[in-house]
Amino acid sequence: MSAPLRRRRCTGEDARARRRQAVAYLETAKLVTSDGSLPAEYDYNHVAAGVAVLAAIAASDALCCRLLGERSRGQDHRDAVDLLTTVRFGDGTPAVQAKRARDLGTALATVLDFKDEAHYGTTLLGPAQVRRLIKGADKLVSAAVAVVR
């Protein structure tokens, strides 16, 4: 059962709004990303990382709102990941669906590990880290686009 203080109720319309935001954030992150070979471009990679984190969170919210009617709130990353792993969708047996949800939870956990650094840190994130973040966000946004119509 949900812990009311950590969760916020949301509707299908909320899910669609968060899905649209997730797509927009991800497209922006990809646009801003440079190949990172020049130190001067590290600022932009850092921005791309911050935006990719927002894309991942929005996509996770979209999935949870659509399938569970609630989303995680606040700063509890663990709760957000745990909640996401309870969604079920797509082809395959319940076991396949469960693995799919766990994979999404892992992607979200990876992205959230960088959240504080990407949004508030002073150590610039490098191109390899940004690529990992965008890959994780891409996975979540693709799932949100497939599920939330």
Partner: protein
């Protein structure tokens, strides 16, 4: 226009039933009119006249491109309500059952009737609760008292679970069939996008199935005829699959770019909600042609 329509109806009655009219025949019948609107009205009058004679609804679609290529597909379909595009399984399990099963199948954790009502987004909590009790009575879902509140989970081991999963999967069968059918087309579409209520899954039994086709250059009469025949057969196929009517937007790449540049709202809707069923995604196609 009236004289053209009546003469054409007499000619039409001698045609084979349900056959697609090839462009050459259509152009011959409509050649008297140089006015674009009369082209459209004449074709429509032909189709409706056929329909009235048969007691069925007639349909026709007329496609223009700069007055150079005129492609006409006239098909005859019997009108009857089709599949509920928002929840196709309702054809077999009506009312709240399918939305509730979908809400249960969308989660691994137990949920209250209130939570399931919110996710299913249909009916009242009392109605959902009654439906859940029926499902629980048949063992299709489990109910458990947790802290004084009843919570429900789907029973994946039930004999009916595979049937439930199949019914829930039906909404993805239409894009799959379109994809498989269009993969065999020659000439193949440059791109094809399912859009509207069929893509958003918010239609009903009266909703059309909307499909955008970006046609390739059709440089010979034979290729044009084959394209029209394919579209006509697809229309009939979708009607067999769903009972719903297929509405085709048949555009060239040039027309697509023109609509995109003029900020046509439909293009935004296609990009936002569309489900790609052939060729590259529309966004990629537009990027390439920019």
């Amino acid at each position: 226009m009236k004289a053209i329509a009546e003469g054409d109806v007499r000619a039409a009655r001698s045609e084979r039933r349900g056959s697609a009219w090839c462009p050459a025949e259509a152009r011959r019948l409509l050649a008297a009119s140089k006015d674009d609107r009369l082209y459209a009205l004449s074709a429509l009058a032909i189709a409706l006249a056929i329909g009235r004679r048969k007691g069925e609804a007639g349909r026709c679609q007329l496609i223009f491109e700069s007055g150079v290529n005129t492609l006409v597909s006239i098909s005859k379909v019997s009108y009857c309500p089709g599949m509920d595009l928002s929840e196709p399984g309702r054809g077999l399990a009506g009312g709240l059952t399918m939305p509730i099963l979908r809400a249960l199948a969308g989660r691994s954790s137990p949920a209250t009737a209130a939570q399931l009502t919110r996710v299913a987004d249909v009916g009242t909590e009392a109605g959902v609760r009654r439906a859940l009790e029926r499902l629980a009575a048949h063992g299709v879902c489990w109910s458990e008292d947790v802290g004084g509140r009843l919570v429900y989970t789907l029973n994946y081991d039930h004999l009916l679970y595979d049937a439930v999963a199949a019914l829930l999967d039906v909404d993805r069968e239409l894009p799959r069939r379109l994809k498989n059918t269009l993969a065999d087309w020659d000439p193949a579409p440059v791109s094809a996008v399912l859009f509207g209520s069929a893509a958003r899954r918010d239609g009903d039994v009266d909703s059309d199935v909307d499909l955008l086709l970006i046609r390739p250059p059709l440089r010979t009469e034979a290729r044009k005829r084959e394209w029209v025949r394919q579209v006509h057969e697809l229309r009939a196929a979708v009607h067999r699959w769903t009972g719903n009517r297929l509405q085709v937007l048949d555009w060239s790449s040039l027309v697509l770019r023109r609509h995109e540049r003029s900020d046509e709202p439909l293009v935004a809707s296609l990009l936002d909600d569309g489900v790609s069923v052939a060729g590259p995604r529309l966004a990629s196609l537009l990027e390439r042609s920019a």
